[in-house]
Structures are given as structure tokens and as C-alpha cells.
Subunit: 383 residues, 5 copies
């Protein structure tokens, strides 16, 4: 009963859109897992973190009609039936960690206790699970995804859960604010494909919106890589070690976020499910291709970043070599000559010191030694 | 007949919860394998290590009733039948290496000799094996797992074996003390899901408890990684080599412990077995997702740790480059000037030494040389 | 609705045929993805980038006849029926991003909206998708490929889309200029295999032409690798770091371009499709073998390039070692002797300084020290 | 007809049990492959290396009886029929490379010529091959394994071939001396499981004995790794380079030996064969788990060894950095001061040299410079 | 129509049998691919490189008879029927690039145009392709292999193509000279297995001969690795960088040559084909095992070579560390003392210079400083 508990509505940070100012991707801290998942729902609810106030929005639409309701009184809302004309009902909950509301919804829509456990606790790995229909409950598709978006210059990472039924989609978000406004707009637009399609097509549209918002984040990585590359090749120094390390570390974390999304969409696209229409699965194939392309990019960036470290090491080694050569050239020329000067500065009877010719000879010798050394170094290619 | 023998009840050490004081994970020493596995059980028993005193606990429960018995006299216990109302019987043995008791249990519950061999000797790789029913014996599912828990500031690693029948679960632990107290509590709580379920659900609950206890250990790694990262980027020195090496080495060992657990749970969840109910397999899917997440984390930590070594090398190289540049700047300025001073300190007739103007000229020349050098170094970007 | 938008007809650069002057492969910048792919086609069209003027060419041929038409008025062209003798019709559009024309074609030939989305936006990952026949539309095979060609000393990368029907092939290119002139020639040649075959064989011939044009690009890499190898082994220095880094980076990008082409052709060759004849699939097997060989080469080059970095580091380390040894030999010989000379140059009463024998003794000692040092260094193998 | 020929009865060396004195694992030399394998057996025999004298031992046993015969006259032995009570006959040949004897056995027991080829030449890769029954010959299972054992302080590597029929097992060893004595003992023990089982169970028991003997070898690696680790972390120097290299190289070779053993056992355990009983395959599953564990260990050791090299490099780099810092601190303090002392030692008219105050001022300046330098170094964290 | 063209009969070089003198393996240059493979055969022939004079040899044999014919007039030969007694006909063409002859053979034996394309152009990747029988042509198995052989001290690499029919095998070699003489000998030997078998067994025998000739090449690598290892561990210097790099590079290329051979044989052995007898496939399994062993060796050598680079770097780093320590010890002892001697050599009024005791005191101080330094260095373990 004692798994790690994160603050429920935490909006984790990820890299912002501007290459230089960068807020780190989360991921090193052990993510929140939730209580013993097999426990009874009511037990779990009792142990859940104190919840913020959840807000519920409900959109009903059919090709002809569309109605949005900001739910003030959830109890009353759950007691009411949906309008008869409604083809698709989308219930969006901001503040998934409100256990009371979540339990109420779970009871009305017969959500599986294991899935409810998962959504009550943020930090899960994206996954799709099928809870097939049985005597007690109708079939449900449960999808857990991760929504990355850039808010201001920071990047917010949020867990989002989808419960897909035949005519209903319920989404649970940790906090208000999402990337779905264009979707809402399209629902309101009469005649749009979304308006004319079923609930699973709405699921597709939401996942597609989430995937769309990953591209600007990768763009940020691309810009930073290019900048780092230039600085490594032009002037490798202390100030490049830290950003390269950060970049690689964030790519590791980003990759960990994108891979399961790909698996998730692949699974949805492949395995037939009573709640997923064939049209939706064709469109999900498209999202899958985008995710493959994203992973391709992430892997490419990782390889380039690895190459960058190697190049950095090569460049520093090379520069050190040049520094050493300068030191060695100067030292090997002057150290022996300094010794010689020292000899003739000794206060003992030195015969040579009595002749005026010695001084010019000394200089001649010094020049010869220096010239010989330089010649030798040049032949060895030192400069 | 001569495989390595470990002390039977050894509680191996693994990293504690506090990042700085850390007791190493075991794993470099060849683990204990047990005697020739095809030998007759009674032969093997004769060769088994001397056993500590084993304690046996038996819990019988049904939705209505629950009864715990600390078995004093195993022989008498084994002779008795279980109460009629008992739906699930859980027999827990602390001290699996007591060959007499183990053989008695094996005989009563018709456990396969190969499985009995395995549990008699600690240090095995986690695995699940199916011994299907035949004429002689009913079907049994044999699961060998590894239980890591933090006791004090150290981490204990213990082998735990499960024999699952249709209505009975027998667990063998090496030593007293486990992570199952919340499970026992839930069994005692009337109306809990566990109380209302079958023996395989109990198996699930125990495995889930084991997996739960892996998260704090990963948390410890996360904290240590963060600390090391900071120290590498701020002040790379001698004191960081050893902890980075240790961390990487422990991650290798930890990974070796978690991977087979994943395979094991995957196998249980996938392959139907007469003793595993469908509900249990749905719940095991959840445990499987936790283990995938754990492995994800371990792999992420390993990649970050690898990046850390590279960054360390980069940082040390870079620092060495700076040190070398300082040395080279000082030397290349002063070594030639020292030579010149040495020349004018020679005790031979030097014409320049007769003029008062020579001294200021010398200083002028020295300053020019130094300034020229510094200008050249700055142009090459040395400082 | 806000994915990245590239300029529609951009011809991205890739490495030219001459090893030294090299224009970089594109690939670090996030490629263009297109608008929300599930949007209605007309919506998408409204958001598409402003298009250049597209030109349409149509070739009809049968074993007996062949006719090429440069379409001036697309509307009129689409209204007309094809000649009765025409076995294969190849419509080539230069300027895929003209939304009006593309929509017109899509409507006439019943192309799937998702595929049309893809071709309207360059920078996609090569892929093959099957849109099977249904009540509304006949079966179509949609192939998205990437065409690399060397134009002048630069390499142009262009996206090319194929829609294959039973008797029609429609190709969409981003810009005028392609690698298909030999194919056009073969179509005009009466009796050629191409002329006698069906539309899917034309698809094969075009893909084969694209793959053919990858070999000269790899040749460029081969030449540059050889040159770099020589320079690393002969004279490792600063000037080799940048080109090695560039080469590795470009190989990463090239690999990313060739792998999906292989998957694409593999998929075409394996999975039967109503529009692909058996003969074509036999010929595609051949193209597949060429792509495997190409990938083999790319991987081999990457491994050699990786080895090159290691060798560079070894060579620089080794050279540094030699430099250090020179410095150390000179210093350890002369620094102690300089000290000694300094001692006898002190202006304090030194008894030795009163004897004439001291001077030759000093030299003798100096020579002994130097000789001893040199002997010791040689014994340690320093030179 | 010209593959490499090793001396037939060569007992190759592998690492001994004591960590410090270590005889290398074989494996760099190209192993012996044998003559053209498709040649006629009698041709091959003519080209086989001259054979040592082979000894043949035959054990017949049934649950009731057991009889061991040291065969003196192979011809007579082969002519005789086996006793009627014999359930299992185990013929062991020490000296597989005696072509005459081998051919005689091959003829009597209808062994496949390709298999006979293989056993005539040592150095093969472990493998299992099924020669199914046909009109001419009954089904035979042919297993080629590698037996590593520690003899004295050295490790012997020997090839061992098994021919399994329904009631007969023939083993061919290169040289006398094996790890099978406990098995022989168990055969003699009435009532042992081995005695009561069929020929395939004997095969299992022998393979199990071979696998058992791999653990002490891994134990040796473990001890050496621990020792090296300590020495790298405490005192990295020249003496650690060679043993780390050796260890890694031997692990590469050991891995190459263990992997095919795993594949072999996996194949035996999976694929049903007329000569393998179900019981035996259950027991082989156990051996397979041991081999998986062994490979796990080998891979773990390899990763730790790789980490060791990196740590070694880090430690040496770090130490070099410290050495450089010492040199640089001393030099940058004293080199400028020496220059100054040299200036005032010049024999030219220097005004300062006429005042007594100059000397103490000089020392004051020197101390200030030294102190300033030290302060600056400390601020940069150099010591 | 413009793929790269190599000189048709080029015998590429690969490493010779003597470790020191080594001619490099080919492989960096883009291999020859041939003209557009889908073109009509006669078109392709028109573009093929000018051919050397091809020689054709035909061997007919049956268990009873055997006849070898050096074909002088191919046209006449192709017009003739084979003798009635002939069970197997082997036509060997030296000079595959003679388009006229090749086309004539292709026409008579109904070879597939794509396969003919392939053989007309050297430098292809080994592969096996099945052209199944249809209305027009009987089934053919087309195998493209690479034959490496040591001629003199160089290694020749040649492409060899096999067309296998039911009773005929046609081989095309680029140039005269092959490794098949023992096979020819065996064909002539009455009663040999080869003589008594069908055409597919001949194919096996030829492939086996090719594989046999790979072992001496690996032997050469083994010897060079051993030599390099010794030199790296004993005396790492400049002269080892280049050979290690070469060796690794050649292993990359060799690996690229051996892998597709393995795939090829695996495919032949696995997939039933009308032209391959079961016996042949059993024997090919043996060849497959040899190739697996070869690849094992190549991979092992690559890992050892990678380890060698790391060890080289460690050794050079370590040696540099020792050099630096020597320099630092000498400098830190004598540089301060030289400064002191310089002080007392200043020509200013220095009180100490007036006392005779100063000189011995100076020496005493110098010895103390030197001794103290040495003591400190020893405590830090510098020597």
C-alpha cells in the first residue's frame, strides 16, 4: 500500500521552444505509480492524495446538433440521461485525481477498477488496455497517454486517460489546459468529418492533436543540436560539456516518452476492437506513421548527439596536442640554452670567459641550436 | 553432485534507501545453483546444506471465514485435513532449506522433484514452470521469484518460491521477514477483493507486493544519479570515479534481477493455466505493465549513467586542457626571458653590459616579448 | 492545425558527387509534416502552402501505340476519356502542392483523402499504403518515396508520390526535373519490355530508376572515407575533426532515408495486391536486393567511420605521448644541470669556485648525468 | 580436402580455478574443422590424422542389473550381441579420432557419414542434429558438445560427441578423463532414477554434468573481476591493463562456447524426437535454465568488464589531471620568480642592485607573487 | 542505365595468408551493380562491358561413365544434344561477362533475364533466387556466390553464379582459375559419392569447396590479431595504430562478405525446391554449420579487435601518465631550487652571501627540499 505518491496535479517540466533557455525534461525521478493496484477501489480511494477541485465538461453532438455543457453539479449530471439526438458524448474531466467524482463516473460508466486505479495516479507509462464486455459491464477501451505541450517558455507534461465506449468518450486530465481547442472548434463546425463520425474518431482526433504537439519540441532539439555542433567544431570548451550532457539526457527521457506512444497507437491500429471503427483504424495508421517518423528523428538526434561527444573529445584532444607542442617547442629550445648561459654565469675560473670572442660565439651557437631544433620539429610536422 | 553451495539462509545485500550510504547489490559472485538437478529427491536431500529451523504458517480463508495457524508440529499439521469451509489455503514456509520439512510438504502436495530441487538452493534465476497434471499428480504451477526489500539502511535479497494448485498456495522463503504484511491484513479484512477471490489471486497479490517494493530501490538510484550528475558537471575529480563505477555496476546487477521477473509475469499473463483464473491474469497484466515501466527506468538510468561517464571524461579532458594552457602560457613567456637574463648574467666580456641603457632596454624587450606572446595566445583563443 | 510548414517546392540539399566540395545532407531540421491529417480535404486544402504552377504530363501507351501529351488545360483534360487503345496511362504532375489541381485529380481518380494530405506536404517518410477497393472507390496503392539526385555539384532531395490503379499510374513530384528520362525513352521504344507490360511494371521501373541514382551518392561517401582515412593515418590534426564529424552525421541522415525505402519495397514485393502483377513483384525482388546492398554499404561505411574516430583518437593520443616524451627528456636532463650551474653562479663564498679543476669536473659531471638519463630513458623505451 | 588439421587428441587450455595464475582460454586460433565433409567416409578416414590408441568402455544396465566391460578387442565386442536384460547400453570411446574403430562402430550402429566426419575432427561448434530413420538406418540423434573441466590449475576443453538411439548411447571423447564419474556411480547405485530410466535420460545426465562443470570456471572470472575492480579503483597503473584485456578476451571466447550449448539444449528440449522421452525433455528444460543463467552471468561479467575499462580510463585521466596540476602550480609560481632572480643576476649596471633594501623587497615581492598564485589556483579549485 | 561499371574480369584483392605482408580486402569502393535490371536482355547486352574471351568446359557423368569436354565451338556445342547416359551435366564458363555466349546459353537453358543481368556484372551481393517453372520455362535455382581464394600472397575475390536445373548445373565465373580442382578429381573417381549423386549434390560440393577456402583467410586474421595484441601490450606506439585500424576495417568488409553467404545457404537448406534433393539439403545443413562457425569467428575477432583499441588507448594513457609523472617529479624538485640558486646569484647586496656557512646550509636546504618532495610523491604513489 506504499508506492510513491507524487503531487496529483503536478505539471512536470519539459524543454521549451527556445533553444537557449531550457527547462529540463522530467524523468529521472521515479514516477508516481499509485497504490497496490489490486486493492479494492474504495480502499484505494481512501488512500488517494487530496484532490483539487475537478471541473467536468460534456459535449454531445450529432451531425445535426451540438451542445456543450459545463457541469456544475456532477451528481445531478450523472443522474440525467443524455439527449436522444446525441450520437457521441465526450465527457472531459480536468483534475483526474478527485477520487469522489472519478468513482462516481466509474460507477455510472462501469469502468474497470484497475483502470480507475491507473488514472488516479499520474506518471504512468502510456498504454492501451482492452476490457472486453462481460455479463456485468460493456466493453471499454482504456488508453493512457502523455500530453506534452509548450506553455510560455516551459513544457508541460500531463497524463491523460481515455475511456472509449461505443457512443461515449471520457477523458481525464490532471490539470486544466490542453491541446484540444482545435478539436472542440471542429466539433462545433457543422459538416466537418469529425462531427459526422463516431466516438472512436474523436479518440483518433485527440491522439492526433497530442502527437502534433510533439513536433515543436523536436524542433527545439534540432535547433539546440545545430548550435552545439557549431560551438563544438568552432571552439570546444568548458561551456559545451554541460549542454551536450543535458541534451543527451533529455533525449533519453523524450525517447522513453515517445516509444510507448508508438506501441500504443500500433496496438490500436492493429487489433480490432468493438469500439473502434474501421475508418478510425485507417486514420490511426496515419498517426502511427507520424510517430514512427518522430522516433526516427529522436533516434537520429541521439546518434548525432553521441557523435557530438566523440567529436568534442577529438577536438579537445587535438587542441591539447597543439598546446603541448607549443610548450615543448619553446622548452626544448630554451631550456638547454638557459643551462649553457647558467654555466657561463658560474663564478668559477672558466677559461672561455676571458675571451671577447666567446660572447658572439655563444650567440652563434644558441642560434644554431634553436634553428636546428626548429628544423627538426618542422620535419616531424609539429608546426 | 558438486555445484556451488551458498549458506542457505543468506540474506544478500542490495542498495539501501539513502543515496550516500550504500551497501552494494550482490551479483558478482556466482550464485548458488544446487546439486545435480536430476538426482533423486532423497539423494539431493541428503546432500542439502544443514537447515535452520523452519517455521510454517497456514492461513485458510473463504469469503466468510479466515483462520491463521502458526504450525508447531508440521507432521501433525500435514496429517490433518483442511477445514471444509476453506476456499484458499496459503502455507508459508520460512526457511525453505529445511530438507525434511520440504520433503514432507512435497510428498503431501505432490510437488515435482525438479521444483523441489530448485527451492532447496537459493540464488536461482526467477522463472515460472508449469508441471501439468498427469496420472500421478495434479497440475501445479511453480514460480521462482526474487524479493528485494529495504531493511534498515540495507537491502535484502531473498529467493521466494510459489507452488500454486487449484485451492492451495505454498510459498517457501529463505528466511523470516517478508513484504507480505499488507496482504495478510487484506486477507483478514472481510469483504476485500482478495478475500473473495481464489488462490491464484493470492499469488497475484503477493507478486504485486514484491514488485511494489522495487520502486523505492529505483528511487535510491535516481537520487544518486542526480547527485553524481551535479558533482560531475560542477567539480569532476577523483571522488566521482568510484561512485559512478559502483552505480553502473549495480544497475547491471539490478537489471539482471528485474528482466527475468518481467519474463515470468509475461509468461503467467499470456499462457492459460488450469490454476490461473482469468481475473487473475487480467490483474497480472497490470503487474506486467509495472515491470515494463521498471525496466524502462533501469534502462534509462543505465543510459544516463553511460552518458555520465562520457561527460566525466569530457570534463576531465577539458579541465586538463585548461591546466595545460596555463602552464604553457607561463612557460612560453618566461622561459625565453629567463634565458636572456641568464645570458646577461654570464661572466664573460659582454659589450652590452657596459652601458646603463641596457637595463631599461632589457625590460622593454621583456615586456614586448610577454605582450606579444599574450596577444598571440589570445588570438588563438587560449584565454 | 499547426504542424511545421516547409516551403512546398524546396529542393533539399544532399552530398554532391565530388568528395571535397560537399553540400550537406538535410535532415536535422524537423521535416515538414502537413496539417492535421484527419481534417477534411477541403479544409486542409485551404491551409496548404501557396502553390507554384503545376505542370501535368500524360503518357498513354500500349504495345502498339504511344502518345505523350503536355496538358495545358487540366480541367479539359480531366473531362476527356482516355483513348480506347491505351493500356497504361501515366499522369505525371510536377508541383504536387497545387491544391486545386491535386483535388481535381483526387476527385476524378478517387484518391483517399489521407493520401492526398500526405502528398500535399513534402518531407514525409517513405511508405507504401494500400487503400483497398470498397463500395465507393476502386483499390489504389499509394507509395511515397524520396528521390535523391545529383544536380550540378549539389544533391537534390525530392518527395515523390505514386498512385497505382489497375491501368493508371499517377505520380506527383514537388518540382520539375526528375530521373525518369531513360524510362520515358524506353516507353517510346516499341518492343521494349516496359511497353509490353502493365501499369505496375511502370511503377517498378520508376522505383528502380530512383534506387539507381543512390549509388553515385554512396560512391561519394566512399571516396571521402578513403581520403579521410589516409589523412588520419598520415597526419591527424585539427583539419580532420570537422570532416569526420560531417561524414558520420550525413551517414546517419542517409541511412534514415534508405531504410524506409527498403521497407517500402519489401512490403510491395511480399504482399500481394490487386494492382501489382506477379511479374512486377519478381522484378521488385531485384530492386529489394539492390536496396539491401545499399544499406549494407551504408552500415559498412558507418562502421568504418566509427573506427576512424577511434583511430583518430588513438593517433592523437599517441602523438601527444611522443610530444610529452620529447619535452620530458629535454627537461629532465637540463633542469637539474641548470640548477647546478645556478648554484655555482651564486655570489656567496663557494670553495669549489677557487679551483680551476672545478670547471672541467662540472662538464664531466654534466655529461655523466645527461648520459645516464639518456641511458635510462632508452631502457624504458622512450626513444 | 585441405581444411586445417589440429592434433587429434589436443586438450586445449582454459582458465584455471585460481584467479591469479591463469592459463588462457583457447579460441583465437582457427579451430579444427575436418576434411571436406561431403566426401565418402572411407576417403575421409584415409586423410584423418594418425590416431592414438582408443579405449572403449561399455556399460549395460537395467533396473535390476548393471555390468561394466572394458573392451579389449573391439572387433569381437562388435560382433557380440548385447545381453537380453540390458535396457540401456552406453558405449564410451576415449580417442574419437581413431578412424578404424570409429568406422567399425559407425557401420554397426548405422551412424550417418556426416556425423562421423564431425566427430573425427575436434574444434567444432556445439550442435544437435537429427538424422531421422529411413529405409536404411534407424533414427539417430547426434549431439556435439564441448566439455570444459579444470584439471590441476589449468582448464581442459574437449569435444564430446553423443549418438543417441532408442536403447543405446554412444559417446566419443578426444582423450581419456572426463566429468562423468558421478554418473557412473549413480548407474551402479540400484534404485537411482538414472538406473530406472531410458537411454535419453542418460544423455540428459551427461549434459547436466558438463554444464555443472562450467560454474567453477565462471567463479574464477568473478573472483578475478572483483580483484581487478579493486586495483583499478585503488591504484590504476600499468599492471592492470593486461589482465583487464585478457579477462575481456577470455569472456568473448567463453561466451562463444556457452551460447551454442544453450541453443543445443533449447533445441533438444523443444523439438520432439523419437529417441527423447518426455521425462528427459522436462529435465532438459532444467539444464536449459542453468545455461540461461550461465549466459546471464557471462553477459553481466562482460558488461562489468567493459565498465572497468571505462573506469580505468577515467581514473588514469583523473590522475594525470592531478599530476599536471601539481606541475603547473609549481612551475607557474617559480618560473616567473626565477626569471626575476635571473634579471638581478645580470652583470649589467642595474640601479636597484646598489641598495640594500632591494633584497628584502625582492623576497617580499616573491612571496606576494607566490601567495597570489596560490590564492588564484585555490579559487579555481586546483587543490 | 547508368550504374557503376567495374572492369568485368577484375580479380579484387583480399588479405593474403602471411600475417605481415597484407594486401587489403576490397570493399570500400562501391561495387559494380550492373545496368538497369529490368531492361530487356538484349538491350542490357548492348551496354555490357567489353568481354574477354570466355572458355567453356562441360563435364557429363553418370555412376558408370564420365566425360570432360573443352568446348572449342560454343555454337556447335549448344546445338548438340547431351549423351543419353549422362545423369549430370556441369557446364562451367570462365568469363561470365561475354554477353554473346551468355545469351546463347541463357536461350538454350531458358535462364531468367533478371538472373542473366546479375551474372553479367560482377560485385553483387551473394543471394539465392528461385525462378519457379511456368509454361515457358522449367524451374531454375539461381545462386550467386563469392569465391575468395589465396593466390600467391594475395587474395582474389571472384563472383560465381550457379544455375541449377534438374539434371544440369551451369556455373559462370569471372575469370579462369578456381577452387574446384578437388571436385573435378572426385567426379573422375568412380564410386565416389559425388559421382553417384545428382546435380544438386554437385552444387553442394562446389559451395562446400568455396566455404572451405574461407578458413585460411580467417587464420590469417587470427595470426595478425595475436601479433598486434602482443605489440599493444608490450610496446604500444605509433606503429600499431595503422595495422589495428586496417584489421578492423578488413573484418568489417569480410563480415559483409560472409553474412550473405550464410543467409544463402540457410535459404537453400530450409526451403524445398524441385531441383534440390533431400540428401543435398542434409549436406547443406553441414555447410551451414561451417558458415555459422565462420561468422562466430569473425564476430569474435571483431570484438577482440575492438577490445584491442580500448586496450591501446588505456596503455597509451597509462604510459603518458608515467611520462608526466617523471617530468613533474624532476621539475617540482629542481625548479624551486633553481629559483633559490638564482636568488643568491643576484648582484645585489645580500647579507647571507657574506658568510661561508651559507653554502653548506644551502645544500642542506636543497637536499631537505628534494627529500621532502620525494617523500611526498612516494606517499601519493607516484613512483
Amino acid at each position: 500500500m506504499s508506492k510513491l505518491q507524487g503531487s496529483p496535479a503536478s505539471a512536470e517540466a519539459c524543454p521549451g521552444p527556445n533553444p537557449p533557455p531550457l527547462s529540463e525534461l522530467p524523468g529521472l525521478t521515479v514516477p508516481d505509480i499509485g497504490p497496490v493496484s489490486g486493492g479494492d477501489p474504495h480502499e484505494a480511494a481512501a488512500h488517494a492524495p487530496p484532490a483539487g477541485k475537478a471541473t467536468v465538461t460534456c459535449i454531445d453532438y450529432s451531425p445535426e446538433q451540438c451542445q456543450l455543457e459545463e457541469v456544475k453539479d456532477p451528481a445531478e449530471f450523472l443522474a440525467r440521461h443524455r439527449p436522444e439526438w446525441s450520437v457521441v458524448r465526450w465527457i472531459n474531466v480536468d483534475g483526474a485525481t478527485d477520487p469522489v467524482l472519478t468513482q462516481a463516473l466509474a460507477q455510472k460508466y462501469q469502468l474497470h477498477p484497475l483502470a480507475v486505479e491507473d488514472l488516479l495516479h499520474p506518471g504512468q507509462r502510456p498504454k492501451a488496455e482492452d476490457y472486453p464486455a462481460d455479463a456485468d459491464s460493456p466493453g471499454r477501451l482504456f488508453v493512457l497517454a502523455r500530453m506534452l505541450q509548450i506553455v510560455g517558455h516551459r513544457c508541460r507534461s500531463e497524463q491523460i486517460a481515455f475511456f472509449l465506449g461505443r457512443r461515449t468518450l471520457i477523458t481525464f486530465q490532471d490539470a486544466p489546459g490542453d491541446v484540444f481547442d482545435p478539436i472542440r472548434q471542429r466539433i462545433k463546425t457543422k459538416g466537418s468529418r469529425l462531427r459526422n463520425s463516431d466516438a472512436s474518431f474523436l479518440l483518433y482526433a485527440l491522439i492526433d492533436a497530442i502527437v502534433d504537439h510533439l513536433f515543436p519540441i523536436l524542433d527545439n532539439f534540432s535547433e539546440r543540436l545545430t548550435a552545439l555542433e557549431e560551438s563544438v567544431l568552432m571552439w570546444p570548451g568548458r561551456s559545451t560539456v554541460t549542454p551536450i550532457h543535458r541534451l543527451k539526457r533529455e533525449l533519453v527521457v523524450l525517447r522513453r516518452a515517445v516509444w510507448p506512444m508508438r506501441d500504443l497507437v500500433h496496438q490500436l491500429q492493429r487489433e480490432p476492437h468493438e469500439c473502434l471503427s474501421d475508418v478510425t483504424r485507417t486514420y490511426l495508421r496515419d498517426v502511427y506513421h507520424y510517430l514512427v517518423q518522430l522516433i526516427d528523428l529522436v533516434e537520429t538526434y541521439r546518434e548525432i548527439a553521441t557523435g557530438l561527444t566523440e567529436t568534442y573529445m577529438s577536438a579537445v584532444s587535438n587542441r591539447m596536442n597543439e598546446v603541448m607542442k607549443t610548450l615543448t617547442i619553446i622548452s626544448t629550445i630554451f631550456v638547454p640554452l638557459t643551462f649553457l648561459a647558467g654555466v657561463y654565469g658560474m663564478n668559477m675560473p672558466i677559461p672561455e670567459n676571458h675571451h671577447a670572442i666567446t660572447y658572439p660565439l655563444f650567440w652563434l651557437f644558441a642560434l644554431l641550436v634553436a634553428g636546428g631544433m626548429l628544423f627538426w620539429f618542422r620535419r616531424r610536422g609539429w608546426f
